[in-house]
């Protein structure tokens, strides 16, 4: 990619003006701070120019979720040998049941519990009298139903914090009663402004209720690393793990895709933390850095240029043996990359892409598109913070349309006016976009495909983008008897 090229800033600024005109004055002022185009000043300093991590404007159809989604759905849910209780009414657990595609190996209901919906199913009496007794009893029942579980987490839904339940006290009691890890998580959905605070709270719960609670006997090695914040969507973490192992590293913990509690517990003994989704787990990496002196490195395994760059960056933290092996790994995959490029690049080159995803992918996947000759014209985060937008400036061209916490209305208008060749966003955005005749891929769940990480994943990524854009169905939208 060349950041010297630019997108059409004036056109994008016009679009922003156009959508803001539709809002009532107060909302227009609020939303105006979240929409901009990326710019670089004469001194070479770049900015996305948007505010972020601020409360959503009521009534505009934000695409964001909640803290519970960030904790149960993202951080804790994938830990496979723990039972995760959706504590409160039935809905939250029901709607998030098996929807993140955190792949794992294990026997469901016996030693793994990822694809189960376990809830205290609050009734009115639980709201009135409190749910602590129910939780206490429930933990015993679950331990009897699932004796091979390694621990239990309590994922709070909205009512828990509002009715004054003391889930920490229950957890402390049950740790003694059942002799296993029990983790209370205060991720009530009304906390914070998006999923993001849920990630933070979930990270803190690992720090406070997992670390140093057991003494894992563990023989450490010089190349021990943790693979942090890869949730193994469609199996993403496995090709990533392969690459790291091929370069001679020993992945002692996967956080939290396909993870066991043991992998979480021993993390502080690793030599280096490798973090993929910075947004959702930077907190625990910073903690491990401060407390255990473990450095951390951000990496990006989307697309060959970022993969090679990341492998070298990771290898630079180790000795020459690892560095040499990293080069061998890159060389080994070069023929595969060349084949993928030869097959797909001619079909995708020059296509315009708009993204709107979570806390990592709005920038992280952009170079994978660049590798295929595609052009990101707009991007934005559901729940990014300022540091995410800062990092984004390294990834996208000047003039790129930036939209933070975009509303359904804005996104629809932007798509309608820009008419990109592809939109990458979520299930809520998929069908409206496709009906406009614009190809779409879900970029949270990989649209039931994946993995997209690593070289193995890049082949699938390229294939999927090709399938979406070059499907013959797009030519059939207009009935032939209708004038063009």
């Amino acid at each position: 990619m060349s950041l010297d090229e630019t997108n059409d800033a004036a056109f994008h600024e016009g679009l922003i003006k156009e959508v803001l005109e539709q809002y009532p004055e107060k909302a227009a002022k609020k939303r105006g701070r979240h929409l901009n185009v990326k710019k670089t000043d004469d001194a070479g300093s770049s900015t996305c120019g948007v505010k972020s991590n601020i409360k959503s404007v009521p009534g505009v159809m934000t695409i964001r979720g909640c803290a519970y989604a960030g904790s149960k759905g993202v951080v804790w849910g994938p830990i496979k040998d723990m039972v995760h209780i959706s504590h409160g009414p039935v809905g939250c657990g029901q709607y998030s049941w098996s929807q993140r595609r955190n792949y794992f190996n294990g026997t469901v209901g016996i030693d793994s519990f990822v694809t189960m919906q376990i809830t205290s199913d609050f009734q009115e009496k639980d709201i009135v009298f409190g749910g602590d007794k129910k939780l206490d009893k429930m933990i015993d029942e679950l331990n009897e139903m699932f004796p091979l579980n390694k621990g239990i987490s309590v994922q709070s839904e909205c009512p828990i914090g509002l009715i004054g339940d003391d889930i920490e006290a229950v957890a402390k009691k049950k740790i003694k009663d059942i002799g296993k890890t029990v983790v209370p998580v205060r991720c009530e959905g009304f906390r914070g402004v998006s999923q993001s605070l849920g990630h933070h709270i979930a990270n803190d719960a690992i720090r406070d209720w997992v670390f140093e609670k057991s003494k894992p006997e563990w023989e450490t090695g010089p190349y021990d690393v943790n693979l942090i914040a890869d949730y193994n969507i469609g199996g993403d973490a496995w090709p990533s793990r392969r690459l790291l192992e091929e370069m001679g590293l020993r992945v002692v913990g996967m956080w939290s895709g396909d993870a066991t509690l043991a992998e979480m517990e021993r993390a502080p003994k690793a030599k280096l933390n490798l973090i993929h989704c910075y947004r959702s787990m930077n907190y625990i990496c910073r903690h491990m850095e401060e407390k255990y002196n473990i450095p951390w490195v951000e990496y990006n395994f989307f697309g060959p240029s970022q993969i090679a760059k990341s492998l070298r960056k990771i290898a630079a933290q180790f000795d020459e043996t690892i560095q040499k092996k990293a080069e061998e790994v890159i060389a080994k995959y070069e023929p595969l990359v060349a084949e993928i490029m030869a097959k797909f690049k001619p079909r995708l080159e020059g296509k315009k892409v708009m993204l709107y995803v979570g806390g990592l992918r709005p920038r992280h996947v952009s170079n994978a598109y660049d590798d295929l000759g595609m052009n990101i014209v707009g991007t934005g985060y559901e729940f990014g913070h300022n540091d995410d937008y800062q990092r984004t400036t390294d990834y996208v061209k000047d003039g790129t349309l930036i939209y933070d916490d975009v509303s359904g209305y804005e996104l629809e208008k932007f798509i309608e006016k820009i008419r990109p060749d592809l939109v990458g966003s979520g299930i809520k955005e998929k069908y409206a976009t496709q009906k406009m005749g614009v190809p779409f891929r879900q970029m949270h769940s990989w649209d039931y495909s994946g993995p997209y990480h690593g070289y193995d994943g890049f082949a699938i990524f390229a294939r999927d983008m090709d399938m979406a854009i070059n499907s013959p169905i797009w030519s059939k939208f207009k009935a032939p008897w209708k004038a063009a």
């Binding site: 979720g65 209305y409 406009m436």
Partner: protein, 509 residues
């Protein structure tokens, strides 16, 4: 090298490659600290026993794999069935992200709903500011003809008063004074999505009949139909309309999502499409009768309807022969319109098809799970075909449902061994299927875990269906719908027969 550009392998085949199998084995052996394979096997076997079943049924606090959702899901579904209507949820925004995703995954359609995004400050001070701003913004941006408000449990726990809040919002000119904003309190810790549907339909009717203006019913010749929460609503509503049109009945379908949840791809995104018009909703008080197609989705609504002097009739999902007969005869009785020969012929064709296939169905055992009305209809239809409903389970079924389901089973010799499980979840059903197995399971996509664990084939016939496409675009209501249900069941029966034996791999069945 497991991957290649020539034949790209995704998760379905990539992880079968030796490189990955080796990676899994080495991760497990070195890093996971999992229980031994023997321990896993032993526990696996133990969960199949009667002893485990008894422990499982002794659960009082833990719910494991329930087959129900929460009130506001039903409420936003109900609201979506009205013309130009924007469903609006007062409370946490995460809930709305979930409702939208959940419905979109089933219908494969855009599901526009707004939230007013209450956070910590609203938890302390109440959500009045949110609703004042939220209604104003939603009205300005999405230009609806009506906004229908329901609540999340957050707003319910802190006790926000929708009636007062909406009145204040109108005073502050968030929306015009005469702009319809019906509402319903839909606490997710009471009932399920079917309760929420009921509350919201009632809230909408109450708005037009009592709040907007106190109307007096002037009974005419029309009838109202309330379809209920139905994952097949797209096709089922159309089928019901086809019957009524064929019979020449004047009617209003109260809450009709058949357009908005089934819009065409032609270059235009229709955020609103079809639905009951506001004029029809207002006028529905003047119907001579209201028929609910799903009793347990409309208990409170039907009380309201009856209080206006209308005749009422409630069915339990008109699927199968008897249920369709009863529905049509009731329509005929209420309207004086005869059931035409063309419909009678459709009935005859269904009976003909079942007659042709009955030998493959007779005595086959089924477990049925889902919402109360669906499970009753499915059970009744299975009995008509000579199948044996062995377990009938509704997580959101109460005592009334239980009594009704038991009476239904008792009405047929094919129901003699049937058992009814009210308030139980799919982990209970797992124990039931291991200890008292059936030949087939009928339910939603959630049943796929039961199918995997027990090896009993699943037939997907109710909401939600996430992992098969477009089933909901074909009806299950009426005789045509029953024919389609019959074929789906038969297909599984024949697939099982074909897969079971090389000897009896017959060309003709």
């Amino acid at each position: 090298m497991p991957q290649s550009a020539a034949k790209v392998k995704d998760h379905i085949s990539l992880f079968q490659e030796p490189e990955y199998k080796e990676l899994f084995a080495s991760k497990k052996a070195q890093f996971e600290c999992r229980p031994t394979d023997e321990a896993v096997e032993a526990q696996s076997e133990y969960t199949k026993t009667w002893e485990y079943r008894e422990k499982n049924f002794a659960r009082e606090a833990a719910t494991i794999n329930p087959a129900k959702a929460c009130q506001p899901l039903g409420a936003v579904f109900a609201a979506a069935g009205f013309e130009g209507t924007l469903p609006y949820v007062h409370g946490s925004q995460g809930c709305v992200a979930y409702f939208r995703s959940h419905l979109a995954r089933h219908f494969k359609e855009a599901v526009p709903i707004v939230a007013d995004s209450m956070t910590e400050d609203a938890a302390v001070f109440g959500g009045l500011t949110n609703i004042v701003e939220g209604l104003q913004n939603a009205y300005a941006l999405y230009k609806p003809k009506m906004i229908v408000v329901s609540t999340t449990c957050m707003a319910e726990v802190i006790g926000d008063d929708l009636s007062a809040f909406i009145a204040t919002a109108k005073e502050k000119e968030s929306v015009p004074a005469d702009f319809p904003v019906p509402f319903a309190h839909t606490p997710s810790f009471v009932g399920s999505h079917t309760t929420g549907y009921d509350n919201q339909i009632k809230g909408i009717l109450q708005y037009f009949w009592e709040r907007e203006a106190q109307l007096t019913a002037k009974p005419g010749s029309k009838i109202n139909i309330i379809p209920g929460f139905d994952g097949y609503a797209v096709a089922n509503n159309r089928e019901i309309k086809r019957y009524l049109d064929t019979m020449g009945v004047e009617y209003t379908l109260i809450g009709d999502v058949s357009e908005v949840y089934d819009t065409p791809s032609d270059g235009e995104y229709r955020m609103y499409d079809g639905g009951t018009t506001i004029a029809e909703a207002r006028d529905s008080i003047n119907a001579k009768a209201t028929i609910s197609l799903q009793e347990f989705c409309s208990l409170k609504t039907m009380e309201l309807v009856a209080s206006k002097g209308q005749q009422t009739a409630a069915f339990n999902y008109p699927m199968g022969i008897g249920a369709t007969d009863a529905f049509l005869m009731k329509v005929s009785e209420l309207t004086g319109k005869a059931i035409p020969g063309s419909i009678e012929k459709e009935r005859g064709r269904l009976v003909d098809a079942i007659t042709d296939s009955q030998a493959w169905l007779h005595g086959k055992k089924f477990a049925v799970f889902g919402d109360p009305d669906f499970t009753l209809a499915m059970t009744a239809f299975l009995l008509e075909m000579g199948c044996e409903p062995t377990h009938v389970l509704a997580t959101n079924g109460g005592k009334d449902w239980e009594a009704k389901a038991k009476a239904l089973l008792a009405s047929s010799p094919f129901g003699a061994e049937g058992q009814v499980w009210a308030g139980k979840d799919l982990w209970h059903l797992r124990s039931l299927l291991f200890t008292e197995p059936t030949d087939f399971i009928i339910g939603s996509s959630y049943g796929k875990y039961l199918e995997k664990d027990t090896g009993i084939p699943l037939i997907r016939l109710t909401f939600p269906i996430f992992d098969r496409h477009h089933h909901h675009r074909f009806p299950t209501f009426g005789y045509q719908g029953a024919l389609r249900v019959l074929v789906e069941i038969l297909d599984r029966v024949f697939e099982v027969a074909d897969a079971s034996s090389d000897i009896s791999y017959d060309l003709t069945r």
